[in-house]
């Protein structure tokens, strides 16, 4: 991990530990010493389908962070049933792929995922869940969620 990546992650961690926004739980001992992998708890907001439920997000940072997006997925025993979340924990969210910008942060990703949970109308996994989970790469950022061909 580059020096710049490390410094930025330390700043983010420090900020999250001192003033984490409602619904985001950060364990003091969570990131390993090289800061490469973090686990963060998110709590379903009041008045939504996931009210009070706690899920765990796993962030994995590459050496190019924040210029390249972190790999973010749900881990643990309870994966939220949601039309944009596969049962293996992979999340279909544009800011984790093409819409990532280096000004986004761990906190803004957590908040986006919380708001995605909050706006769900129905608790179910995506329709192609079975196929996807069987065939996808272990790393969700290797999945290309949108597909295009150049003009042929």
């Amino acid at each position: 991990m580059s020096d710049a990546s490390r410094r930025r992650l330390l700043k983010e961690l420090n900020q999250l530990q001192t003033e984490s926004p409602p619904g985001i739980i950060i364990d003091k001992n969570s990131p390993d010493s090289d800061l490469k992998q973090w686990r963060i708890g998110v709590v379903g907001a009041k008045g939504t389908l996931y009210e009070g439920e706690v899920f765990t997000l796993q962030f994995t940072f590459g050496s190019q962070y924040p210029f390249s997006s972190p790999e973010v997925m749900f881990v643990g025993d309870t994966i939220p049933a949601h039309p944009h979340i596969y049962s293996n924990g992979h999340i279909c969210l544009s800011i984790l792929a093409d819409d990532w910008t280096p000004a986004l942060s761990v906190q803004s990703v957590c908040l986006s995922i919380l708001s995605m949970l909050s706006s769900a109308r129905e608790k179910k996994h995506p329709m192609d869940d079975a196929i996807y989970v069987r065939t996808c790469s272990k790393n969700p950022s290797k999945t290309r969620w949108w597909f295009h061909d150049d003009k042929v």
């Binding site: 944009h84 279909c92 597909f147 003009k151």
Partner: protein
């Protein structure tokens, strides 16, 4: 001590004299006038110094003018001595500002000095009638009027502005988005407070190093979008900020060779978007300039397969294959967001009902 060229325009006697004079950096304009007075027998109070389109104050320090041996200072002795009292000898003129350029000779970002010339004779013996107020005033022509001391120039004439690298004097394109971080704000990427930042006009500051890395990351997948009249450009790294880099010279921050790569890929993309070219799998093929080259042929079988397996982007008609993932298509050709199911613009309803 540096030697500078001094042109004395004596309008009273209608003579012009060229002098070469050594001036110390710590001297003031007043000292210079005294020395010139000794050489020309013109009382120093009758002389005015024209530089950068301004009349210089007597207390202006020579060092602040960033003179080089190529600089020419004009000393003017008006026909009628101005009725006003000679200017307060304590007043000094600022000609220094914080401008930044990409200097191709130094191959890096440099501080720059702004110089002004007569658009007609290119001379520096001019006075601007009004100070430039914004970037457009200096970047566009015919915005700032000047009075030129040259006999050949007419009264109604305009200024030409140039930015020069302070280190090597090379004329450079100004980086209009680069500025000093005078508020000591944090970079929106690394949160450090660096001295030099890029601000696209939205006050979201990115330090130079982060902006360079941001550009390089985007060059890799060519995420530059066509935004007329700026060409292929990029948005502010701040989330959801739509401000764009308005002058492609900023892409020189990546260095000359990556800038060339940017130009090449932007050109290719423009040709593809305007439907005037084909993507050739074999660009070195000599026959490719001929119409009957195999690269240009699409047989029926290929065409049928493409038609059967793709849908066209409703905005740019680009054939698009969905080989997995959700129905939300973000067209990499034109940037349109559409629904593969509806073949229409992606809507809130598609978001929930046509996900897969």
């Amino acid at each position: 001590m540096d030697e500078v060229t001094i042109v004395v325009l004596d309008k009273k006697k209608n003579v012009r004299k060229n002098l070469s004079l050594k001036v110390g950096n710590e001297e003031k304009i007043d000292d210079l006038l005294q020395n010139v007075g000794k050489l020309t027998a013109i009382p120093k109070d009758e002389l005015e110094v024209l530089f950068c389109g301004k009349m210089l104050g007597r207390a202006t320090k020579i060092r602040d003018l960033q003179l080089t041996p190529a600089t020419q200072l004009t000393l003017l002795r008006p026909e009628v001595c101005s009725s006003q009292k000679p200017e307060n000898p304590e007043s000094s003129t600022t000609v220094n500002s914080s401008f930044y350029v990409f200097c191709k000779k130094c191959d890096s970002v440099k501080r720059a000095k702004l110089r002004v010339y007569c658009e007609n004779c290119q001379g520096t013996s001019i006075l601007v009638k009004n100070e430039p107020q914004n970037w457009a005033d200096v970047l566009k022509t015919k915005r700032i009027r000047v009075e030129c001391s040259s006999e050949t120039c007419v009264q109604e004439i305009y200024a030409n502005f140039r930015f020069k690298c302070v280190d090597c004097n090379e004329i450079c394109a100004a980086l209009t988005h680069a500025r000093g971080n005078w508020q000591k704000s944090e970079c929106c990427i690394c949160s450090d407070e660096n001295i030099l930042v890029i601000d696209l006009g939205c006050n979201h500051l990115t330090c130079l190093e982060c902006f360079k890395l941001y550009l390089e990351e985007n060059l890799e997948n060519f995420n530059f979008k066509l935004k007329p009249p700026h060409g292929f450009t990029i948005t502010c790294p701040y989330t959801d900020c739509n401000r764009v880099v308005q002058d492609v010279h900023h892409f020189y921050l990546m260095g000359k060779s990556k800038y060339q790569e940017y130009q090449k890929r932007a050109t290719e993309k423009l040709i593809l978007q305007s439907d005037e070219g084909v993507t050739c799998p074999n660009p070195d093929c000599e026959k490719c300039n001929e119409r009957d080259c195999v690269c240009h042929k699409t047989d029926d079988l290929t065409r049928n397969t493409i038609e059967a397996t793709t849908r066209k982007c409703p905005n740019c008609q680009c054939s698009t294959e969905r080989n997995g993932g959700c129905s939300h298509i973000h067209c990499t050709n034109c940037g349109y967001d559409w629904c593969f199911k509806c073949v229409k613009e992606w809507t809130e309803n598609c978001q929930w009902d046509h996900w897969f």
